[in-house]
Subunit: 218 residues, 2 copies
Amino acid sequence: MERKRADIIADQIEELIFDGSFADGERLDETQLAARFSVSRTPIREALQRLALSGLVDQLPRRGVFVHHPGPVELMNMFEVMAELEASCARFAAQRITEDALAELDAVNGRCSTAVADRDIETYFLENELFHQMLYRNAANPFLEQECLRLQRRLRPFRRMQLRLRGRLSQSMAEHEAVVAAIRAGDGVEAGEVMRAHVAVQGEKFHHLVARLKPAAE
Amino acid sequence: MERKRADIIADQIEELIFDGSFADGERLDETQLAARFSVSRTPIREALQRLALSGLVDQLPRRGVFVHHPGPVELMNMFEVMAELEASCARFAAQRITEDALAELDAVNGRCSTAVADRDIETYFLENELFHQMLYRNAANPFLEQECLRLQRRLRPFRRMQLRLRGRLSQSMAEHEAVVAAIRAGDGVEAGEVMRAHVAVQGEKFHHLVARLKPAAE
DNA sequence: GTCAATGTTTTTGTATACAAGATGGGCATG
DNA sequence: CATGCCCATCTTGTATACAAAAACATTGAC
């Protein structure tokens, strides 16, 4: 159940920013957006506020809001934080997970595996997200879970675009299994470290990807 | 320079929530607040939205916003996350801090020390905050720094109220020195673990405090 | 010709007016 | 007497009107 018009609009604008419909630094005109969504400026302003607090746009006082696409350095930073948070989740989960949840984790991991075998990137992406979310959940700390979900959502488009890198799928899969094994063994430290590496490598891979693209753009 | 009226109001309402002027679960009436601050409902609504996204109030669709004081369990969760984030900061700082920044860290720690000697809780609280903020800074990850500052601010009132526990000041001081020593030695893992314990103990101490108060309230 | 100052215009921030949903009480009915 | 339904009222959500500040362009001076 959506709360109100402003929230639906916030999600839609967010989507437009994610899929690149708005260029980096572009000003988002309240009046234009109001016309586009057939509402008044009020809900638009509320939506933009939300996006500003999420960090998707920069809001300059009395100047307007400007879309803010994170650069490679900023992305590295965000992935680094994600890696730390997920490592914590894995470590906690190793101590706190229930037998049932562990079985579920196996099930999700299995579905990831078949997706890899089928070369079904889309399914893998979804099940992979679910896998990570289950770890957040089983850290048994709702606040931590929320923070993780927030960042996961924020980094979503960037994780997606680098799944196409050769060999990443099977590598990622192997890392998942190592995490589960460590959790099953109750080895929190190991689970945390494997998880940290698993997430951090994404940031690094992304960094390389951008580094490779940059010379071409110049 | 504050951005606009709504932001000033947001800070003021936040302050009112922190210092307990609004009870847990109390509804914040937009019209009343508008009258209180001598503005229209518009900036009030913007302020309340900000608070909702910070988690200080719960916003129920078409029902209103209700102040949300975190309970003991929620606080434990938040302190746990804070401990994880600060541990990460310490670990990164051990690898990334400059000689100059390390000297500054020593200076702040020195001021903490004299505050302890003087039994000057207020000064200690301030310098202590600065100490932690310097670690966030020297993790050399602005995104991580921002997240830490956010949570630090959120937990501020709760850290404050438990500084009065006997012996906490000198214990805290010793932990600071252990962190600095580990960082100076470049031992990231050690710095992280000491830091984690240093922050986590606050959450636990708080938990005990509440547990002790609870029977009295019943 | 260029730069600066001022007036115009556009755009953000705030106030008010209006609409729609939620709360609470009264009345009717079982 | 209890319970459920309906209506009045209040509160939130949205639209519009107004104010103030910034961007822009035009014009004048050097």
